[in-house]
Point group: C2
Chain length 111, copies 2
């Protein structure tokens, strides 16, 4: 888990917001998450991701992509699709995915 | 903190993704967050929000709005602007805001 934000992306770009409810640390989750992190980094046009999870609460992952082609390449990746199917079966109580085009963004960094 | 996802919004709609790094539980933060939650709920076209924060790590808030007018009404709300200015001065090490238009979304709920 990093505490670095993905910053300084010039619009337009795409976000995939993944919000989920699941038990803390289900079996097999950490290994799959690590593997997905490796795989998504290989997608051309992938710009980074951030993840936060409140203990006992909601988890939110935001992944950033240069364009819809990059986002779809990840969405349709065979090993990613298999992991999602496994997650629906074994890990998640519920989740939502929101795919949006970012036209405006701004950042703040303490000097 | 709720464990309910905001689900079932029909596209198109807008998301404001707010990612931040700050110390855990800074002074005055909880009260202001509670007040902002009340205020944003009064904005016509506000559809809900979700928040997650990894202890010692990144926090992510995603707020959902029916259209850009609703989002801008919140963005430009005087008390919200004052809270943001206070947060930059006192709470946040860094943050980013990504404003996007959602054209596709899907949800999963375990039966």
């Amino acid at each position: 888990m990093t505490s670095q934000l993905v910053a300084g992306i010039e619009p337009p770009y795409y976000t995939a917001v993944f919000t989920s409810v699941r038990p803390d640390a289900p079996e097999g989750y950490a290994e799959t998450a690590e593997r997905m992190s490796e795989l998504v980094s290989e997608i051309p046009g992938f710009l980074g991701y951030e993840v936060a999870r409140s203990p006992g609460g909601i988890g939110i992952t935001v992944a950033y992509f240069r364009d819809l082609e990059a986002l779809d390449a990840w969405r349709l990746h065979a090993e990613h699709q298999a992991a999602k199917a496994y997650g629906r079966e074994h890990w998640y109580d519920s989740y939502s995915v929101h795919i949006g085009k970012v036209e405006r963004s701004y950042s703040f960094e303490r000097e």
